[in-house]
Symmetry: C2
Subunit: 253 residues, 2 copies
């Protein structure tokens, strides 16, 4: 398939590489800034453009743009053929509605970082099309990249995205809070790395509800109280109290 | 070393095995209930007792008991020789103060589950002794099990425990919340496993502050608002709003 990738950020970069490695032809890369468009195009040995009105002909246009940029870029696209699909978890498919005949969503459920390689074969990809033919094409493309292709409508996908925010974004924020606490004690963050990895590894085979440990799980009110008294930061303090009470409530007999 | 292990739960079981595998002599296992005492003793091919007054002579007594049980068990112990050390993150060393001459703490920073094997060589262990000789002995024992032995006083250890509650216990609770959301959509939790593993893997090489992604990190207020409107559960809703605002605040330019 001939694919044009719009965007040059983490998702765009990882997806473009995955397409290329699976034998697809990356016909062009679009990015607002020449520096990033050129850099990614060079990597992929393809052309680039910095104006949505200069897109080449292709079978599929993948919009891996920030949620805020998406709408304005769509408005500036002049080409009307091909399938136009965005990669956003929380944007409805109908953002393309009045503009194109064939459109959809191609949402990979993973967190992407520039430095970190991603094994796409294990990344769930959720697709949605505005008609059966589009759904089928996008599903085929997903199947090409991963062992876990799925079809999901926009409502389901947004709920999935909310779950991912808890499981990934908020979780990472708690790593940061833990890191802040250690820093104050001059303890290097590395100390927590095995614990964090084990916590994530555990739920690959045990349901998270069953994997829960800690003072709140045991309803160990003495320890909880002691911790709350020791946490000076007000935000942290409230979070600790709120989450402990929710956990204790959930597991109370 | 001749070691008596008090407790038959997750920490006791994993520690006892690690001691045995590293050539120490598990002289006896104590647990309040005969069933669990006997089961662990059988596994380890050693003796057991169900009364703290029946402890055998040993070099080290490891109290791997719940925080609530610890104090009452200590009161019932009649033997006074040997080093007595507990494994609790948030209990001060002075819980042993008036009872024994030599005592301390032996705190492994990891989450233990019965079914899951643990590679102790990678688990940080924090020790504390009431005198230098005890600290040295416990440090030596820790060094025997892990490449990461540390000395930490009670105050430092409790703060470490608080950091671990954020990085492990609260994090696992977020996996559970995500699992709840998926369940309502009849999506299997397995869908999130690669994302969760990648989130934990990432911070093995990137600082968590730098690894942060998601709507709040981008200050994507539209998506945040959409998510908040879609979360019906009130607790979840408040959590989402609180954490998003804390993250946005942290990363605002």
């Amino acid at each position: 398939m001939k694919i044009v990738v719009l965007g040059a950020g983490n998702v765009a970069t990882h997806l473009a590489w995955a397409f290329k490695e699976n034998g697809h032809d990356i016909a062009q890369v679009y990015s607002r800034t020449q520096l990033s468009a050129q850099a990614l195009a060079l990597q992929l040995d393809t052309d680039f453009c910095t104006l949505p009105s200069l897109l080449k002909n292709a079978d599929i246009y993948i919009y891996a743009l920030s949620d805020n940029a998406l709408e304005s870029v769509i408005q500036q696209v002049t080409i009307s053929s091909g399938i136009h699909a965005h990669t956003a978890g929380s944007i409805n498919i109908n953002i393309f509605e009045k503009k194109f005949e064939n459109y959809g969503v191609f949402y990979p459920l993973q967190t992407f970082t520039k430095e970190q390689e991603v094994d796409f074969s294990n990344v769930p990809i959720f697709v949605e099309g505005n008609n059966e033919a589009v759904t089928e094409t996008l599903f085929g493309l997903a199947k090409n990249l991963t062992q876990k292709p799925f079809i999901a409508d926009s409502d389901k996908r947004i709920r999935l995205h909310i779950a991912a925010v808890f499981a990934c974004n908020f979780t990472n924020y708690f790593y940061t809070l833990a890191s802040d606490i250690l820093e104050k004690q001059s303890i290097p963050f590395e100390i927590l790395q095995p614990l964090i990895l084990e916590t994530a590894a555990k739920i690959q085979s045990v349901r998270p509800h069953d994997a829960q440990t800690g003072p709140a799980r045991r309803n160990d009110t003495k320890t909880i109280q002691k911790h709350i008294e020791m946490i000076e930061n007000e935000d942290l303090n409230k979070l600790y109290a709120t989450l402990s009470s929710q956990i204790s409530e959930r597991y109370k007999i």
